[in-house]
Symmetry: C2
Amino acid sequence: MSIFPDFSGKFITFEGIEGVGKSTNITFVAELLQQKGVEVLLTREPGGTPMGEELRRILLAHHTEEVLPETETLLLFAGRAQHVHNLIAPALRAGKCVLCDRFTDATYAYQGGGRGISTTFISTLEQMVQGDLRPDLTLLFDLPVDIGLQRAKSRTANSSVDRFEAEELTFFMRVRKQYLARAKIASARYKIIDASQPLAEVQSNLRQLLV
Amino acid sequence: MSIFPDFSGKFITFEGIEGVGKSTNITFVAELLQQKGVEVLLTREPGGTPMGEELRRILLAHHTEEVLPETETLLLFAGRAQHVHNLIAPALRAGKCVLCDRFTDATYAYQGGGRGISTTFISTLEQMVQGDLRPDLTLLFDLPVDIGLQRAKSRTANSSVDRFEAEELTFFMRVRKQYLARAKIASARYKIIDASQPLAEVQSNLRQLLV
């Protein structure tokens, strides 16, 4: 049975480390919902607006100077402020279902779990920037880190590895652990999808949840 | 008599609205101090590091989307985190005197006074990013807004007016008011320089303060 009787105005986020299949499955979910007649906005973070995409480029690029975890976090929330105000909130108000490839849970996982930024730092910014806006549903695509990274590697040329993809296995293990910890705390909002299954199984899970 | 017996490790910021002569006078002060044998680092905000300069470009540029005051504030502190950690703090530790063209007081004046961002929002970020680092001395170049803007206009082609310079008179009046209010609260750290005087007078004031 579908998780929502009506998807209009619902905010659904897709989370997980590299290689879990977020991109493939967000498109799949968009099509599923459109077939049900739901108007969908598909977007991503970092990014979503022209300025957000500029900031994404800065966030993912390699720099000659050390990039502080605090800087990453502030840049993410700067882009998020633009994204929420100029795109997400207006779409939700217009009754669309917003599907977002990563959102604030990723900041808790990557900058919090991965980089060691305190939860208080992040939650303070979350409140400042988002007010009461939180996802209605978060799909966490979960997978052992080594499998995810292997999948991600097979599709990326080594030369184009971004600043996050260049991180070590232990970084992504901290990220995954933090994602799972958050899913436990906010279990009403989170659905964990076992992304180690074959794609057909994953999409059958998604169909059960959403159709 | 000089305000500091020793300028080594001192952090001096230059503040004021457009057209007050900050750029001319920061160079003048740098030379004054170098003549005294002080090692000087001259820098600016937004900017100061390569990433800070990238963010400066984004902050000053005109955008197709609305730029939120919150976004401005977060981008300023993102650049500031880089600036403080990678440039300012190491220079101070090495015993240099850091002269900075605008710093956090400008955020209170422009984003706080000018754009209406709350003081709490700004001071929370200030604490997050700077810890205990505050300027030892802030030189506020003060001038009636209409004179400042006229001076600034005379040096800028209309076509290259940035997103801040494009603001109205009343915006800069709120900025100036906020600068003066902060100078009153933190009067031990602030020196107000009357920038409506002829340049020779202004520089005589500076010499008295610093030599």
